[in-house]
Amino acid sequence: MASQPTQRHVPWLGALSALMLIVFLTMCFFYAPEDSIQGQVQRLFYPHVASAWVAGLAFFTVFVASIGYLVTRDLKWDGIAAASAEVGLLFTSGTLILGMLWGKASWGTYWAWDPRLTSVLVLWLLYLAYLALRTYVSEPAKRARFSSVLGIVAFVDVPIIYFSIKWWRTQHPSYVIQPGMKPAMPAEMLQTLLFGVATFTVLYIYLASQRLRLLRYQAQEVAR
């Protein structure tokens, strides 16, 4: 019989996520200064960018776990990929919604068929297809094989998104942080952004580990 999934780390990780979220929201509204051009609405920037970061991290995890499964054939890797894809899709949805709200205030429209926006939408569709594929294959090993192939191919889209902002004319803001360059924002803004990225990363780990536990329980239930 498979071992019971560990629960030791989950409560304190959840508590840490909640605490960091409270601190992050406080920093967003009270610590980071108001943007002189965009005003209060610019505060959406912090969770928007942090969500996008975590989505990228989650899909990278799907990619690595997919390779891990194909190499080892251990279903543990497939579970990690599935949990990461679900949480990544959640954060991609957050990125899109926050971006649309910010876009309405800044550009006057919720959506523009800008390459960057379109590419994130494509990413969202890709991982939606990934999760749909999983529901249509019932045999675990076959589901893991097929999902791993899609998990690898889908991640190919991520660099296209990253470079699209350089290759194509875009309404989307340029990078706020680039290697070797001084960030084009006050220190308080940068600290809020970095803390937001850390917060959402911890939240991702918490949510993905919870989902993974649930998947393992389901697998054990099926095996009985």
Binding site: L126, Y136, V137, R145, V153, V156, D157, W167
Partner: protein, 466 residues
Amino acid sequence: MSSPTSRIVLDAIEKDFGRQRALRRISLSIEQGEYVALIGANGAGKTTLLRTVAGLSRPTSGSVRIADVDLRRAGPGLRRRIGFVSHASLLYPELTGRENLQFQARLFGVADADSMIAQLGELLDLAAILDRPAGELSRGNLQRLSIARALLHAPRVLLLDEPFSGLDQTTASRLQLLLQRLVDAGHTVVLSTHDRAIVESGPHRLLRLDDGALVEDRVLASASVDRHAGSASPLLVPALRMPPKLLGATLTIAAKDLRIEARTRDVLGSAGLFALVVLITASFTAPVGESSTGMATGVMWMSLLFATLLGVGRSSGREHAERGIESLVLSPVPKAAIFLGKALASLLLLCLVAIAVVLLFIVFMAGNAPVHVLGLAGTVLIGMVGLVIVTTLFAGIALGTRLGESMLPLLVLPVVIPLMVGAVELTRQALGGQGGGMGIWLALLAAFDLVMMMSAVATFAFVIEE
């Protein structure tokens, strides 16, 4: 002690299909020249066991070794030692018996294919059916042809899954005699059957499976095991050369697909007609002229995209009709060649569709816009390569899901959106006569194609395994 050249060793083999355990820790050894009957009720695991030994089904745990080589690391040499007769014929219904056997001979590197086909024709009484399409043959005739396919490269290990089903008494007796002669010549034969009469009339050893477990393994009292197995002169001696490598195998598989298409014309017919209908219908609704070029190019690429889905879907569906794809997996050719061969044939066919669509598009929808011909040709080629690569990879996955072919658009469309955006933009520029700004887009599409090609070649083997 027998030579290890075709000894089969199973070590604690288990195979799960979801919550169902099909094989339960099966360990056994089959020596060269043994004639083994595998019996058990329906669902006992006979087919799964034979498919696992053939290398078609990967065990969940445990290992299969043939000639002291782990099957997971089987090279072309080991693949050529195995012949497998399945429930399905593993033949292409559109090709004649002779064409099917010639195709298999090329995959296995059988140099004297015509001579081998003639020998097998005599042994299995195939003369009347060799030049008829496999799809028109009766169950019994198809079974004989399938056995000829498995014997064509004179494998040292012959695995047969209920080979006598569908055969009349005369043919069954003839096959029994043939199997005995193969065993006398040193071949290892393992067959599954429900027929006690067959078990009692030849096999040296009986294996009985029950609910995935090996519950009986005994030497048959009625059988006199020939301790001089292998002393008889070889029954089949094909002239073998090296099996084709990546390029040769790719071309062989593509040629097979094109030959089938020449006979059926279903990819060209369905995909071409679909694309043309979309284009012609759209030409009545879209205004002609420079201002509408962007939208019109979108229509053109949508028609090509759905034509590709249809065409590649048909081509892949054909591989699954009589499980022809399994004959490719069993062959000693690189797995990447299966993907590349399928993709190459689809690309050639769909390029014909694309040429017709683009010409009609220019006539019906592009108005008098100047055309950058080289840019347009390059765009269509690079775009179609990308579409075909992605669709060929995912067709294998889609056919393995509960939704079947209907799953294909769901998987392909999100992946090819960046390609479609780039192709539409490039086509728009080409139709404006602007060749100058096309470089970055062409590079992007080429990069997309390259990355997808590498991903597909690296992962296709996982798509087609069981």
